[in-house]
Symmetry: C2
Subunit: 416 residues, 2 copies
Amino acid sequence: MSPTYEKTSTSPVNIAVIKYWGKRDTALILPTNSSLSVTLSQEHLRSKTTIRASPDFEKTRLWLNGVEETDLTKNKRLQNCLRETRRLREEHEKKLCKEIGTENVVPLSKYNVHICSENNFPTAAGLASSASGFACLVYTLAQLYELPVSTTELSKIARQGSGSACRSLFGGFVAWEMGSQVDGSDSQAIQIAPKDYWPELEALICVVSDAKKGTSSTEGMQNTFTTSPLLQHRIKHVVPERMKSMTEAILKRDFQQFAEITMRDSNQFHAVCLDTFPPIFYLNDVSRAIIRVITEYNTCSESGKLKAAYTFDAGPNAVIYTLRENVPEIINIIAKFFPGDVENGKEYFTDPYQLFSGSIIGTKTLPQGFNEQIIPVHAPGSVKQILHTKVGDGPQELTGETDSLLNEHGWPKRLA
Amino acid sequence: MSPTYEKTSTSPVNIAVIKYWGKRDTALILPTNSSLSVTLSQEHLRSKTTIRASPDFEKTRLWLNGVEETDLTKNKRLQNCLRETRRLREEHEKKLCKEIGTENVVPLSKYNVHICSENNFPTAAGLASSASGFACLVYTLAQLYELPVSTTELSKIARQGSGSACRSLFGGFVAWEMGSQVDGSDSQAIQIAPKDYWPELEALICVVSDAKKGTSSTEGMQNTFTTSPLLQHRIKHVVPERMKSMTEAILKRDFQQFAEITMRDSNQFHAVCLDTFPPIFYLNDVSRAIIRVITEYNTCSESGKLKAAYTFDAGPNAVIYTLRENVPEIINIIAKFFPGDVENGKEYFTDPYQLFSGSIIGTKTLPQGFNEQIIPVHAPGSVKQILHTKVGDGPQELTGETDSLLNEHGWPKRLA
């Protein structure tokens, strides 16, 4: 039996505060504008991937959430990531062969791999998993292949799996620089500030029910690119300025500036979706009610300062960024206007950091001056779950005995 | 007793296909872009106004839908219209005095007036009434004062009451040219084509329930003007081109071009509302479902041609422009996905032209190839009413004995 070449790692979700929407090159996944995101803690939202390379595997296989994906050759994005990491491994092997002799180098680049990947997201959440998934794939391959390359270099490979995956290779605050090269060699992620740079910043994810599955972001963004006159203005005249201001806001830990740009950029992303023909809608009535509630919360703020910032990706779920001190108040407000479904009550609020007791959720008092009339109390379950989380780390290697998703023979331990 | 100087007239509603949103001068009501609208028939939607001038009236009074408005001096927009029409009347009187002698000229410009105005809109409709209302005020004053001025000249006065009122002074297809003068002297309405120019064009108004009253358009458009980066691009680079193409589409009676620009411009108007900070929402989930239905209807069209165009003003109601031949099909589709409230069933479909029998509404068959899964059948009453109408005339003077809204003494016949 051959020795085991296997790695397991986890990767985080990231939520953009300057949104990526539109590709100038769909094959290389080169964006029409730079973007900036916050990496969220992996406590509750992460992808986990085990990859094993073996000369005994008759072909490369992939299992996603326990289901094997057949005909991997059709999965261009996966092939991009495999090809690019293998190419780097080959180069590395050549160099090693010269240094330590061919007999001491394992030709991993020639082996087939078994890839097993799982997301721990609540099924109900409908949170995008391609960013964390492709980041995890590329990171785990890099570990397995022992690639001597920087994370930023890796980000260019992850980008070819799923654009926003490049940002999930870093923890903390991450920019995806759009670059200008035709080959994509400068379209890459860089870290603006690490996870612990702004410890007061936290996030609440409000999982919103939606009857209808929205347009996929891959399809949607290209429709916007080809049909929206407003997108061109956003790309050329709005985002460059916002990238600078947002970077500055983060480095100064200036929540006012951070919050205003975050909300404005979420609004503008959904505006260009609406300017698409035919229009694309991701926000629903509950999403909009959450925007109204956060707007009112900021308006009635005693200090006159913004206390929370909403942002919405390609779906109805809200992510609310706020400072730690405001978290209980915001949870109470959300719980008051969007009560949990009683049958599902215990899962309504998820707080992995145990920061708040259940009783706080019960009070549902509103801050002074908050106009209760702005929206009605919604039907129970309109918000299915509130997930409390914080800024998190980049990909992590797992080395525990039971961490592998593959069994001793290199096949999934669990199938769906 | 003095002789009676009194006029009664009606004015239509207009629904823009290139939207007006944003003022460069709020006092003179000068817009940031030109706009273009279709005047709708007054059969079901109109304002009616009676104005009497008398030396016996101790002050100028206004009753709107049977309720007197107190302290008219605070109503700047009304004062604008009264001041400007009186000024023209004064000039006219001076000229008349020279021509026929002072003793033969009634000094109407010095008399107080009683103004009584009513809208015949279904209360539930929530359709904007300021356009038809101010058009009717100015038109009736012009008739009363026998002003020797063109309709386009009058439109500049109506514009100072409510921007879009200037377009309601004409029937058919009407452009509001934004103009460039600081004093507004070239910001005026012109008729592109009369009512009967395109007889196949008809409209369906879908009245959508809404729990929440939206932002007023006066307030909303200035917030967009001051906070939306995308509005600037719309104003400078999108609307001028669309005004040309839309004018051309109407003159060619080209429904393809008309429909596409109409839908794109409605989408873009709501996009800049969303790009406002804080964002403004007028579309709700039912509005968006109507957009999806019309998009699917156009997609499955056998000829590959657009058969219907939605447009939404500052509210959730849809106006669907279509050619006469498609009206029964569209009514059936809307009635299938948005059934009427049974208790309110007889008022669900309003068809003043008696074009369709009730049984057509009952079939609810979908056109071939229509994907029934795109949206669920909505709760009864989500669309409260479908109003079938067509292109209509401009303001009309009424001369019947019972047409006046004022009694013999010049006071309202009906109070609320």
